[in-house]
């Protein structure tokens, strides 16, 4: 019997995020106390990693920058020739693409996690590229 897991998990429901299904496989389902469960230590860490914390300084700064950018797009009052403006808009476009890739069918669990991580650091670093290093370092510290 040949089985194609990725298609099965997708079912008839449209684009399937493997990560979304694995959350169910790992966190729900029947538990029988007479049986032991294998250690899930590694997975737990990965899951925390992809769940970006909203109430953080990084998020506040990102929202603040995003709001500035929104108004610029709605009614540009700044000189559009400013190089940093061009840079921001380009990066904004790239972010849209990576988000689409993330929500589409993820090929592997590690890819899904990696994409989420990459997206997270990209979003946090996008408006202040120079701050990227310190931002990701801070996130790392928070996780440890």
């Amino acid at each position: 019997m040949t089985v194609v897991p990725a298609q099965q998990t997708g079912g008839g429901g449209g684009s399937s995020g493997l990560y979304d299904v694995l959350e169910l496989v790992l966190d729900r389902g029947l538990v029988i106390d007479a049986f032991v469960r294998v250690s899930l230590v590694g997975i737990e860490i990965l899951k925390i990693d992809v769940r970006v914390v909203v109430a953080s300084v990084d998020t506040y700064l990102r929202f603040a920058e995003a709001c500035n950018r929104l108004d610029l797009e709605a009614g540009p009052r700044k000189d559009p020739g400013l190089p940093d403006l061009v840079g921001e808009m380009t990066e904004s476009g790239a972010r849209g693409k990576s988000k689409g890739a993330l929500s589409g069918a993820a090929e592997t669990i590690s890819d899904a996690f990696k994409q989420a991580r990459d997206e997270g650091s990209e979003r946090q670093g996008e408006s202040r590229p120079r701050a990227r290093k310190s931002t990701s370092a801070r996130r790392k510290e928070e996780q440890e």
Binding site: T9, S15, G17, V21, R28, L30, L40, R51, A64, D71
Partner: protein
């Protein structure tokens, strides 16, 4: 030799996936253990089993295959019994409970729905609805982006407004979908999504549920709504202790003591 357990079905289940590849590398062949009116879908448990991608998928694939032909109670990933006898022992001991659950879930599948804000769209809404946020953003921009503290203050206000919208949109989504399903199980909250809800749906009327999801997507374009299914009813194997009010379900959340 310890035994890995995928799920529990009725022994009258017409097509349990005996011989299919299960967890492990190489995949351990799936076996069926029968005890009275119940059957357990099992395989040998590989040494050092970890939640690797291929093993998680194997677990899910075996259950999808079994669930396609009849009712199955899916185990959570990673359940290992010391031997076959301890599994048949549990089946015998709790037979009435498992039989009740299998009856309740007969012909039903799970669809999991997760929703996120489309960030640009929700920021537009938040800005449009709050003069305070607009004013602060304007002031920041006029002073060349604002000081660090100004940005934090603006960001905090925006985050609070977005959070409030998350709650509102989760409620709106539930309002659009709950009535199209037989049962509802709310998943853990996370900042990864504003709604994470599993729905129990009659396989025969799944089209109606999928149509409701499509309609919700059209009505709420600022949400990215992801749906996964049909899945084995992971979220409905245990009687829900706290099913939300307003979800009328007969038989699936009562009577299993």
């Amino acid at each position: 030799m310890s035994t890995y357990v995928y799920g529990i079905a009725a022994s009258s289940h017409p097509a349990l996936p005996e011989g299919m590849g299960g967890v492990g590398d190489p995949p351990r062949p799936v076996r069926i253990l029968r005890e009275g009116e119940l059957a357990a879908v099992v395989s040998e448990a590989p040494e050092g089993l970890r939640p690797k991608r291929r093993d998680l998928l194997a677990h899910q694939s075996v259950l999808s295959e079994a669930g396609a032909a009849g009712s199955v109670l899916p185990m959570r990933f990673g359940s290992v019994a010391p031997d076959d006898n301890s599994i048949t022992g549990v089946l015998a001991e709790r037979a009435e409970h498992y039989k009740e659950r299998l009856r309740a879930l007969e012909g039903r599948v799970e669809y999991n729905v997760k929703a996120n804000h489309v960030e640009e769209a929700v920021l537009h809404q938040v800005m449009a609805q709050s003069p305070d946020i607009r004013g602060l953003a304007e002031a920041n921009r006029e002073s060349g982006g604002g000081s660090y503290d100004d940005k934090i203050r603006l960001g905090e206000m925006v985050a609070a407004a977005v959070k409030a919208r998350e709650a509102d949109d989760a409620t709106a989504l539930r309002g659009a979908l709950d009535s199209a399903a037989e049962d509802v199980s709310v998943g853990p909250e996370s900042t990864g999504w504003l709604a994470n809800v599993s729905y129990l749906v009659d396989r025969e009327s799944a089209e109606n549920f999928l149509a409701a999801v499509e309609q919700a997507r059209k009505d709420m374009p600022h949400l990215e709504v992801r749906i996964n299914g049909p899945l084995p009813p992971y979220s409905f194997v245990e009687p829900g202790p706290a099913e939300p009010a307003g979800t009328v379900v007969s038989g699936t959340d009562t009577g299993a003591g």
